[in-house]
Symmetry: C2
Subunit: 358 residues, 2 copies
């Protein structure tokens, strides 16, 4: 059972869908599946954005897609860095030739707009980038106040919602987000391998006005749109069977209903936190900044990180995650994502930890 | 039935493998699968190269991996362009900041070393890049004489073997190839989504000596090696279920034996060509430059390309490919790849064409 920071457990129906015979990437039946994927992704992202689709790579490919297409050499980017994925966004933006200003935040805390405003130094920016759900720390970042700040700076707003999409509300249109990327292996409950992305009309306009070509041919949206759009022109061979998987995963999500799904994630996360407290374990993030999909727990003094996780894997068949960066060795990451967010999994995880901590 | 330029038909055993429950990307069982994939890929590439593994993207991501890691801004590249994929290699190399010299060749013919030598103008180059198996034209490029030319120019040699690997002999060590990429959806008989790559010690040395970071973070081998190598450090979440698929596909290939597999591809391609001749259809490429995995056929005057292919799809459940670039509308592409290279498929394709042209 996968209760770490992802990949998460996958429904049998999704696995079965992936085992269907491979169709040609220009077969009319397959093109119909692609159209349905786009429509369902718009529903999950809560957006009308025309440019919404899964990229043929994992979440980090989605991050790079956003940066490489939105940025030209010399563009100014303000990145909120309070965990591994903010650090990565800054690095990827630099490799795209952008001038990156990093706003360093505490690991395990969300940003306020004031922190980012102070780091900006008051200049104009082309892009503000923050992580909506920091998989390394378990923090949920409020977005509306960051949108307001981006407006002050004249910038587009990019968010990483790899660990939030389909587990927490992601309001692309409601919040006025210009670009977002996610991954299939978290709350979408599909194996890793695809990265859903979406872009606002303003983001598309910035891409259209580019002077330099996108440095990555594989991730160049001006070319990829030709395949996912009306023309159906060949770019690269789509990962057909992975797309069967996300099609079925999205169908199951919309069948459950987004609000019901968010409520389920909230309920099970609350039960987990309550149980952890009863075991004397401390949840790391302040209550109003916590993710429901991923809970970070302080490892008590004297408890061996690796030995505990090995015990859970061997005796309970249960994988939880260790910490990254400054949280390595002192933090566990417990995922309750998508299909895996169940009362039963909460109970099993708590029983396993109780046994491990003896 | 997929008898176009790829994706090709996939064994049920491979599809079933992909439907196995998703393991964590750092689970010891999964790390064992990764090691086996690397060992089997070395056998199929016929190489001892340490840096051999599947990239988390389709064949074009493999192409970009090679270019982005091997090239630094200002490096000189000589590219053989005699089809869509040579054209793409030149474009990708330019986007990596290289100075690209294109050697234009006839579509449907292999290059001689003399053609490339003439185009080089005698200067020094960092990289020579040619397509071993041109999926757009059905041409097989002899490699040893191109290796000799690369030596004259002081260059590394990169080959595209997307449509040859596991269908034709690819002798990475025997020919002295420095870098190669392939795709899973052709003669490897696995769904699209991964791109096997391999790099010689000299290629690794060039990457180690880089001054500029690789412009793509997602495809940066210096980081990816940390995960596939001893350290097992997290880079991106591997596409677990796709990797189950390639593991099973490689196992089946080595069970059949490479030589037996090449012989099967040759035998069925010969039968197809004979049958096409009996129907009065002309195979496009000279006999000694033909791929066994993909046969290009001239569409007779007065025959409707689209209508014929629709007839085959509707009445025979059989997909063949149309032409690309200058071959669009005047050429069909018939694939006999991996699992799909069978006497039965040859017979069915010929029967379908006979009925369509009847």
């Amino acid at each position: 059972m996968l209760m770490g920071p992802g990949p998460s457990d996958v429904d049998d129906a999704v696995l079965s869908a992936m085992a269907r015979p491979t169709l040609g990437h220009l077969d009319p039946d397959f093109l119909g599946i692609m159209d349905e994927i786009r429509a369902m992704l718009r529903a999950v992202f809560r957006t009308e954005n025309e440019l919404t689709m899964p990229m043929s790579g994992t979440g980090s490919a989605g991050m790079e897609t956003c940066m490489a297409n939105l940025l030209e050499p010399g563009d100014r980017v303000l990145v909120g860095v309070n965990g591994v994925f903010g650090t990565r966004m800054a690095e990827v933006a630099r490799r795209c030739g952008a001038e990156v200003v990093e706003c360093e935040g505490e690991w395990g805390r969300a940003f306020t707009a004031d922190q980012l405003r102070a780091a900006s130094g008051g200049g104009r920016f082309d892009l503000v980038a923050v992580v909506h759900a920091e998989t390394s720390t378990g923090v949920l970042q409020p977005i509306p106040e960051i949108r307001a700040l981006a407006d002050e700076l004249g910038a587009l707003l990019l968010i990483d919602c790899v660990t939030s999409l389909a587990g927490h509300a992601v309001e692309i249109d409601g919040w006025g987000v210009d670009a977002a990327y996610s991954g299939t292996q978290k709350c979408l409950s599909c194996p890793p391998g695809l990265s859903p992305v979406t872009f606002s009309a303003r983001a598309v306009e910035k891409m259209r006005a580019r002077e330099a070509p996108v440095q990555s041919w594989y991730l160049d949206l001006s070319l990829i749109q030709g395949y996912w759009g009306e023309e159906r022109s060949y770019h690269h061979t789509a990962p057909i069977n992975m797309l069967y998987g996300i099609h079925e995963a999205l169908r199951l999500i919309l069948e459950e209903g987004l609000e019901a799904r968010f409520e389920r994630h909230a309920r099970n996360a609350a039960a987990l936190r309550e149980g952890l407290a009863a075991l004397g374990l401390e949840v790391r993030v302040p209550a109003d900044e916590r993710l429901n999909s991923l809970t970070t727990v302080a490892i008590p003094d004297g408890v061996d990180d690796g030995a505990t996780r090995r015990f859970l894997l061997e005796h309970y068949g249960l994988e939880i995650g260790g910490g990254l960066g400054p949280m390595k060795g002192n933090t566990w990451r417990i995922g309750l994502m998508g299909t895996g967010s169940t009362e039963r999994n909460v109970a099993l995880c708590l029983a396993g930890l109780r046994a491990a901590l003896g």
